[in-house]
């Protein structure tokens, strides 16, 4: 299958993360029979050849099976799109044209999926088919590819290389994909970041931190979004070795559609000492009672932080 990779309003972080794939990413493309028509960081064809390639895709002389968009669609300033141009024209025009030529469109990363960095600001970044929680985004709610597919969202800032591998495998092998209401692959994203965090026992007994440098849980005060964020960070580890929460860094909810939240990181918004946002489906009164009892039962090795994480 032919793949074309376009970078728009982003930082190239997803490409950088992709290169950390645990096998060799070039070999993965070969194994899946993916022919990279163009990747801006990796391809070496000159600009004239690239121009011709683009024209051939738009003229449907070359089949565009998979279109990967990395970064958000830039609408600013004032909906002109001139903050992000390709050959002097707003890049959003090219994104739209290519999207209608593709069989599958993949929104690589949170910016492409939901808007992400710059989605609350003058840049006016939007996701391909979502803006934050709202369906629609740049291409509109009704958009379907040539083969009738919605945009497939791969949120994460950055994406985990496994998320990309998973979706490319499913597309190339025509495996069925079960989607969430945010158009993400349910099988891949059906974990909370909290699951598998090595600080879980501290969380269990409500042994909570207010500052860096300690071993306890960061959910109640330090803004950790582990329990409210869907991503397998503590199941499929980063760079194969670790995760932010294991390293004492709160989860910032980077796969969430509201990332980067318009309120402070490193602080938990709370009501009378309990997080405003509780794990999904939890009853607040019961949760409070459970946490107070858990705290009363907390063993000294946790209270004194002697237990490693």
């Amino acid at each position: 299958m032919n793949l074309y990779w376009l970078q728009s309003g982003g930082c190239s972080g997803d490409t950088m993360s992709m290169l950390n794939y645990e096998g060799n990413i070039f070999k993965l493309f070969e194994n899946l029979n993916i022919n990279i028509l163009w990747h801006p960081s990796l391809s070496a064809i000159d600009s004239n050849t690239h121009d011709k390639l683009l024209q051939d895709i738009l003229d449907e002389k070359i089949a565009l099976d998979i279109l990967c968009i990395e970064g958000n669609v830039v609408l600013g300033p004032n909906n002109t799109g001139l903050f992000d141009t390709f050959r002097g024209k707003p890049k959003k025009e090219l994104i739209k044209k290519l999207s209608y030529k593709a069989s599958y469109v993949i929104a690589v990363g949170t910016c492409a999926s939901f808007g992400g960095i710059g989605s609350y600001d003058e840049m006016q970044g939007v996701g391909l088919q979502f803006h934050h929680t709202k369906e629609g985004g740049f291409l509109g709610k009704e958009f379907r590819t040539k083969e009738g597919n919605k945009v497939i969202n791969l949120p994460g800032c950055p994406i985990h290389p496994k998320a990309l591998e998973n979706i490319l495998y499913k597309i190339t092998s025509k495996s069925p994909i079960q989607f969430t209401k945010r158009n993400t692959d349910k099988e891949y994203y059906n974990f909370t970041v909290h699951q598998g965090c090595t600080r879980n026992e501290y969380h269990e007994y409500k042994v909570e931190e207010k500052d860096f440098g300690e071993r306890g849980c960061m959910f109640f005060h330090m803004g950790c979004k582990g329990p409210t964020t869907l991503a397998p960070c503590n199941k499929y580890l980063w760079n194969e070795v670790n995760s932010k929460t294991r390293a004492g860094v709160p989860c910032f909810g980077c796969t969430r559609s509201d990332f980067p939240q318009p309120y402070p990181f490193f602080q938990t918004r709370n009501i009378i000492g309990t997080p405003l946002e509780l794990p999904k489906g939890v009853d607040r009164a019961h949760y409070l009672a459970y946490k107070d009892m858990a705290w009363a039962a907390a063993p000294q090795r946790l209270i004194k932080r002697t237990q490693r994480v």
Binding site: S8, G10, S12, L82
Partner: protein, 497 residues
């Protein structure tokens, strides 16, 4: 006849268009056009000071750790806190690992693939270049991916992941590191050192270190003809890289990694050099002027005082990037600047013989990993010996404060300047390495380094101006960092911050 060419340059982090005017096959005018504006300084304004630790890494997927360190150091400075020695060691290991892998990826995935360009079809190195550097298939692109992802594990062990983590915080690092983790890092570092010795330099790092002049480099190359410095030098001779891309400008570095016991000093000192002498560095001498930028103020201002009031109608302005200067002088930054600040005899000799040509600038990037891997190994061993030490001192944030954080990113001098008012970010200024190297003309009419390096460059085939790629890539451009530069019809400048 004058011809205008507009060349999109790929294999750059972010989008870059180069606009050149060619007369008699020579470039007589050059403009570099970044094509993306994200407005990070405005994204940060009004947010909590610590949010800079989450947001600034996301300026750039390849320098994300460097931005994190600069942001944390700006807060250290604002809150008047000195991080404990063990935290400085961990910070150093993190940023050195990022720069080391960046150098490897830049040379073997970005710079060398240009020699597989069909324009070199008849050159003796062509088939070798193809087998070694061809994108996706070549030997080195694959090998380099495998080793760089091992190097990046070092950062993930310390900070959770790469890119985009936030384990460096004002006062130190977020969490204590233990012996098993440091031993894992040591193993990865030793594996990297062996890779460099066996696959890149084809000799021990100790032997490599003895090269102290161009003459001894030539001897070394003839002894190890399959080494990467030999292959690069050979190709450089045949493609005129010894002569092109010169700016004649000075060099700037903010210093490479802080001394753990005295973080006001660094392993490689900060400084400004004219290529012969080294002068003491003082951040107060950094200024930006907007003579050719579409902003209201014409005066040269320090980043703390920088204003960004747009003036669309301003006469003669052709850019949205201010010209950053040191003591009113144009300066370039990157590995070559660092070698000069460390008084390296080889690079002083090379600069004297060949100026700041593409060859010399890029060779610094080929050699820097040898230096950095030794630092990483030494720092890890030192961290192991001091495993009991604290890694975090709680700062006492002042609701109103100003601070700056300077560091060495892979591409050179990176600085963040923060002003905090009522516990919120009031202003945030970022000057990235690409702001230095890709700056526009200044109040005195001096071109920025990229522009100067392109002037006079001969373009053999106008449809395939590969020479421009060599020159610009030797600066390792990073365009995703664009912060305050906005689209302006045809002549656009969108570089740096």
């Amino acid at each position: 006849m004058k011809i205008e060419l507009d060349i999109p340059l790929n294999r750059v982090e972010g989008d870059l268009d180069i606009k050149v005017t060619i007369h008699n096959n020579k470039i007589i005018e050059a403009k570099s056009i970044g094509t993306l504006y994200r407005g990070f300084e405005n994204i940060l304004k009004g947010r909590a000071p610590l949010d800079s630790l989450v947001l600034t890494p996301r300026i750039c997927g390849i320098c994300s750790l460097s931005h994190l360190l600069a942001a944390a150091k700006a807060l250290d400075n604002a809150y008047k806190i000195t991080p404990p020695p063990q935290a400085v060691r961990i910070r150093n290991i993190s940023i050195l690992a990022e720069s080391l892998q960046s150098d490897l990826r830049q040379h073997y995935l970005m710079f060398m693939p240009d020699f597989t360009n069909e324009i070199y079809n008849d050159f003796s190195f062509f088939s070798q270049a193809n087998s070694l550097y061809k994108p996706f298939q070549g030997y080195f692109p694959r090998k380099i991916l495998e080793i760089t992802k091992e190097i990046l594990k070092i950062i993930a062990i310390l900070g959770g992941q790469w890119p985009h983590t936030s384990h460096i915080v004002p006062g130190g690092i977020a969490s204590k590191i233990y012996t098993p983790e440091l031993l894992e890092i040591l193993n990865l570092a030793i594996k990297t050192k062996e890779f460099l010795e066996n696959e890149i330099y084809c000799q021990s790092l100790e032997e490599l270190e003895k090269i102290d002049s161009y003459n001894s480099l030539e001897k070394n190359i003839s002894r190890y003809p399959s080494s990467q410095q030999a292959i690069f030098t050979n190709i450089a001779k045949k493609t005129n890289l010894f002569n092109i891309g010169k700016t004649g400008y000075g060099y700037i570095s903010y210093g490479v990694v802080d001394n753990p016991l005295n973080p006001n000093t660094s392993f490689i000192p900060a400084g400004y050099s004219d290529g012969k002498n080294i002068y003491q560095f003082n951040q107060e001498k950094i200024s930006e002027d907007s003579t050719y930028a579409r902003f209201k103020s014409d005066a040269s201002l320090h980043p703390f005082d920088g204003k960004t009031e747009v003036d669309i109608e301003k006469k003669d302005a052709y850019t949205w990037v201010k010209a950053v200067r040191y003591d009113s002088k144009v300066a370039q930054t990157g590995p070559l600047a660092e070698f000069l600040m460390s008084k390296d005899p080889l690079f002083f000799d090379l600069v004297e013989k060949f100026g700041d040509s593409v060859y010399v600038r890029q060779l610094a990037r080929v050699f820097r990993p040898a230096k950095f891997i030794k630092y990483i190994i030494d720092l890890t061993q030192e961290a192991l010996r001091n495993i009991q030490e604290e890694v975090y001192i709680k700062p006492h944030p002042n609701k109103n404060a100003i601070g700056y954080g300077l560091t060495a990113a892979a591409r050179g001098a990176l600085g963040h300047w923060i002003k905090i008012k009522d516990d919120k970010i009031d202003s945030y200024q970022i000057i990235s390495p690409t702001t230095w190297n890709g700056s526009p003309k200044d109040i005195n009419g001096n071109y920025g380094p990229w522009e100067k390096a392109l002037l006079g460059l001969e373009i053999k085939v106008q449809d395939n101006p590969v020479e421009i790629g060599h020159v610009i890539r030797s600066f390792d451009p990073c365009l995703v960092c664009t912060v305050h530069s906005i689209e302006n019809k045809k002549l656009t400048y969108k570089i740096g911050f």
